[in-house]
Point group: C2
Chain length 396, copies 2
């Protein structure tokens, strides 16, 4: 059984003061149905990826709200899945399973998060509940603090000096903001100089040593949706078809500070990448474009190494030799990524699938990768505990 | 593809002051693995049903914690699903999909909730986030209040007098408490007279008119787990095998007070029941035992009618003629149900699967249904928005 994408939708990402979580969910769902050219009648199930609607919006149990998208969704199964910032890709994976199990032919997947309902301190507190709370959140760790553990672990492992780290992470931040300038849906449209992003300053303070403000992704509202169906059906209905060739999830210990897993590499992300490439009989050089989980710039650096774009400890090379820029070996986060496109957490994984599908169709939202036929998404939850990789391929 | 239950575990239900959500999850997972006779090595995926760990325990993203059960679960996909009080059955359904899709052979499903971390008012507030919050929870509706809407709707529709309602609901409450006396894991071991449960009194006050204290299920901590696998594998490994012949989910509009769906019947539950019976070519008379969602006594009354045990408006008949008692046509909630066994919300659906599997194996936890070969579970989320029915069948 092969599953393909029949339709996509991506909302504006940002502080969307006039939109509730309900409106964002419905906008994305309706948008994807319209793009797919189907109605609720043809949808057999709905999966909603949402991280913390209960805490952000006092709304758990949001999946059945999808019936408001189209009354013909009534009596269909509506399911919410949650895996922190990887909730969206987790929803896509369950949708693929439902089709491959023969339980559904066509499925609507929506990722949504409305974060700006709370002030920054409140958001930080909610995000901390994606950590292993008794050992991390409750002890004062924030997510910048948890990823700072990786930055410190990386420096210690490879004898990296802090100036070198600032320089490298500054390049990643610059790239994100530059790419986002072309993405009309991005949260931030501001270009930064490398001097600014690589230097601690009043306007670029340390958030969690050694991570600075320009190393951290944004608190955003947003939603994205895809309609997936059997590939044979997609081929019959559409001129351009992108298949989800494989989707692999690998989980790891919840906590980074407990020391049960590496603090200088994304071990389970690497595992998932290698498994997905193996399953699809591809190498990293077959991948033409990728959207990966740059919740912090250090995360993107570790992902270069997990992808095999550079040797361990040399992720910086992928920047210096231009690999990860538009026109390079493997353009990464042409959308601006979580750093500049924004990171409405439950939406992010679905957003990545929309962005790569549109790249492969030659209809990029923002910068377009040249002649891209095969793409990859990597969505991470927590400090690396949940990792989901999809390989997408243009079939026609 | 056919999926069967390889192992089960059910924790004590109650105010478990000495157990955290982590300990409950691990206890249930380890218990089910031991009962199945497998280790983490043989488990291909883990699904966790949990309603509101973020709000009750400051822990979203709890699924990867499952790796603590057995380190060989590392790198396997761990997924949390949430559908209010039907989170547990939703997790079972995704596990079945994963196996039927060929993505997994053997899967661990855990349902868990730790509710007594908050005081009653806090719990009521969290539960309200399973309603359609802007229209219900935020307007002061509690879950007793939402199900009181059904009680009022039922009285209005069928010209039921309040004394008649009290009398009927009192019988359901008595049955639950009597059954729970035999269940060593039940939250409450207290028998009530019908006079007590059918009468408003100081000790049995109105909670949400016309529902009294004895009409409401309990706030509980607890966990349950099952290991599911391909039926052929279960048959090879076990002397007694219970198959999940079908699992059907039907969603409905989130809100009951908005009036978009019936307030005198559980329309989508009925739909799911009929679909599951149709898919398995069974009638209600083929079902020997059932665990159904008696979050309130009025819910169980409506379920009698949704099951077709009694005509619409005459659910009371199923009590008067003894149908739903031990030894009757279809014994319902021999465990004591949510009313007396307890209702740790995310665990409840998995608990139901454990209880029915054990009934069909002749190893009931508590009262045993005689010669039971086929059983049914009905798990409901919110005020009837999520509805999941499983048909379980003893194969050998």
């Amino acid at each position: 059984m092969s599953v393909s994408i029949l339709g996509t939708y991506h909302s504006k990402v940002g502080k969307l003061e006039d939109k509730t979580i309900y409106e964002l969910l419905a906008e994305a769902g309706r948008g994807a149905l319209a793009d797919a050219g189907v109605t609720g009648k043809e949808i057999d199930a709905v999966f909603v990826g949402n991280f913390a609607g209960g805490q952000f919006n006092r709304q758990e149990h949001i999946a059945p709200y999808a019936i408001e998208i189209d009354k013909d969704l009534r009596f269909k199964p509506c399911v919410r899945v949650e895996n922190a910032c990887a909730s969206g890709s987790t929803a896509v994976a369950q949708a693929v399973n439902a089709i491959e199990a023969g339980k559904a032919e066509t499925v609507l997947v929506i990722g949504v998060e409305k974060m700006t309902s709370l002030k920054t301190s409140g958001v930080t507190g909610v995000l901390a509940t994606a950590s292993y709370y008794p050992v991390e959140g409750e002890q004062g760790y924030t997510f910048p603090g948890l990823y700072a553990e990786f930055a410190k672990g990386y420096m210690a492992k490879y004898g990296y000096r802090v100036e070198e780290l600032y320089d490298t992470l500054g390049l990643i931040s610059c790239k994100a903001h530059k790419n986002a300038m072309s993405n009309p849906l991005a949260h931030m449209h501001v270009e930064y100089s490398h001097e600014f992003t690589s230097t601690v300053s009043e306007k670029n303070p340390i958030i969690a040593d050694p991570l600075k403000l320009t190393d951290c992704s944004l608190v955003s509202d947003g939603a994205a949706a895809i309609v997936v169906t059997k590939t044979e059906k997609a081929k019959a209905l559409k001129d351009k078809v992108v298949e989800i060739s494989d989707i692999v999830q690998a989980s790891d210990y919840l906590s980074i500070v407990e020391g049960k897993r590496s603090n200088y590499e994304l071990t389970a992300a690497k595992y998932a990448i290698n498994k997905a490439l193996g399953n699809t009989k591809l190498t990293i050089d077959d991948i033409d474009v990728a959207e990966v989980h740059d919740c912090f710039t250090i995360t993107e650096l570790l992902i270069y190494e997990a992808l095999g774009l550079a040797p361990e400890g040399r992720g910086r090379d992928a920047l210096l030799n231009g690999d990860v820029y538009q026109g390079g070996r493997l353009p990464i986060n042409l959308s601006g990524g979580l750093k500049a496109k924004g990171h409405p957490v439950g939406a992010t994984g679905v957003s990545m699938h929309v962005l790569i599908a549109r790249q492969l169709m030659g209809e990029a939202i923002g910068l377009q990768a040249k002649a891209a036929e095969t793409g990859l998404t990597l969505n991470i939850g927590g400090s690396g505990a949940t990792n989901i990789v999809s390989i997408l391929k243009r079939l026609k």
